[in-house]
Amino acid sequence: MNRNKRFAIIIILVTNAIIISFLESFIPVPIPVPGIKLGLGNIITMIAIAFLGFKDVLFIVAVRCFVVAILTRGVMMLAFSLSGGILSAIVMWALYKKLSKYFSIKGISIAGAIVHNITQITVASFLLGQLVVLYYLPILLVSAVVTGLITGSIGELAINEVRKKNIFEKTHHQEDVENQVCSQAEEARAEGDQDEGFEK
């Protein structure tokens, strides 16, 4: 894929992830527990896992965390969101690419949510130097199953729709067509040069 096209896709996905995160405030969370969010931005990570390469997925997660931390939450929150985001993306990518026979998108999303919450609480425990923080883990794990299931359900529908609409295939196809046109033009130019040469 053309580097600039890749960047354009990344820009669109990260922008959407940030906008989607704002939509969370409109959705009632089934478990009203402090610290529990639906994590709708994760849908974009799932879409990226389904259609893009591993490096791009990590880049999208890292840039999303960086931009959100700088624009709204500050450096402290970057430690939480980046560690949780990157680890959950790695786990979800591995499950989707290697074990998709055994895991549905919903299952992968639940696994991602669990890893995200475990990582965040571990970072909090490390920063505070207190193990008592880990008492909160069972609550986070139960809520991760619920929120992961909801996000996974939306993500599954979104991935299917994106696949149906051929968005990523279209961009690849458009590029193939562009490449084909360019190569044809080059060939024509080369032939023209040859003809000129013969004429000379």
């Binding site: 669109i12 089934p30 610290g35 840039v63 700088i70 929150m77 920063l127 130097g129 529908l157």
Partner: protein, 256 residues
């Protein structure tokens, strides 16, 4: 680092690097404090700079809420659970392990969070990314495309500024229509929400050529830039910091 913050930053005009160095020093300082009075002095200084920089209180409260939810709530919950277990089992393992050291640690973490919020809300994004570009210069020399990645970050910020508010507003309306005033079953919402999200993604990909063209044509200098500039305001900032350090030094020596 929102537009409001950027405008305020332009009015304060403290150099980005000087401010960063002062911010890092302020974040590190409390880890060396021995005297409780030093914490009070630092707290007063933070309130003072918040007032001078005129940071929006609502922004601070929102960021504070996320800090409290992630750090404080699990900690307090853990303390309560420990107390309950100790009450029932009388096991010394569950005895209260909290001490003033933990609260001081909480305060130190709070200082890091608060100073970073103050810094990012008073420094324009283009200045900060420009500083990062200078900082990554050795990596750039080694052939790493750091400028490209920083350009992508700035393009995201530009995109958010250009379309974010409008899209957020229209999506909010659609979301309200799907979720409704009455809380319907979540199953219905999931379909409705996914439709909104898919529409957003599909619509945004229609602009891919435009965004690609923008990425190709825009120069890094148009998106971010940093030049060191020392003004009297930087002098005042450094002087106020030195006064704080002197007062803390006096407090630490027990002379205050």
């Amino acid at each position: 680092m929102n537009s409001e913050g950027a405008n305020k930053a332009e009015s304060t005009q403290i150099d980005g690097v000087i401010k960063l160095i002062l911010a890092i020093l302020l974040m590190v300082m409390p880890f060396y404090f021995q005297n409780a009075f030093s914490f009070a002095l630092l707290g007063f200084y933070m309130i003072l700079i918040t007032w001078i920089l005129r940071v929006n209180l609502r922004t601070l409260m929102l960021s504070g809420a996320s800090f409290a939810i992630i750090v404080l709530v699990p900690y307090l919950f853990g303390l309560v659970m420990n107390a309950i277990f100790y009450y029932f089992f009388k096991n010394p393992l569950f005895a209260y392990q909290g001490s003033s050291a933990i609260f001081l640690r909480l305060f130190k973490l709070f200082v890091i969070w608060y100073i970073s919020i103050l810094y990012f809300h008073t420094t324009p994004m283009k200045t900060f990314i420009g500083m990062l570009d200078r900082f990554f210069y050795p990596l750039k020399r080694l052939g790493l495309p750091t400028s490209d990645y920083l350009k992508v970050i700035m393009c995201i910020v530009v995109q958010l500024k250009e379309t974010g508010t409008e899209v957020k507003k229209s999506l909010g309306e659609k979301m309200r229509a799907v979720v409704g005033e009455e809380k319907r079953k979540l199953k219905i919402n999931v379909k409705g929400i996914s439709q909104i999200i898919v529409t957003l993604i599909v619509d945004s990909f229609e602009k891919i050529d435009k965004i690609q063209e923008y990425v190709e044509t825009v120069r890094p200098e148009d998106l971010y830039d940093y030049h060191f500039k020392f003004t009297w305001k930087d002098g005042v900032a450094i002087l106020s910091f030195l006064i704080l350090v002197a007062l803390i030094w006096i407090a630490e020596k027990g002379m205050l």
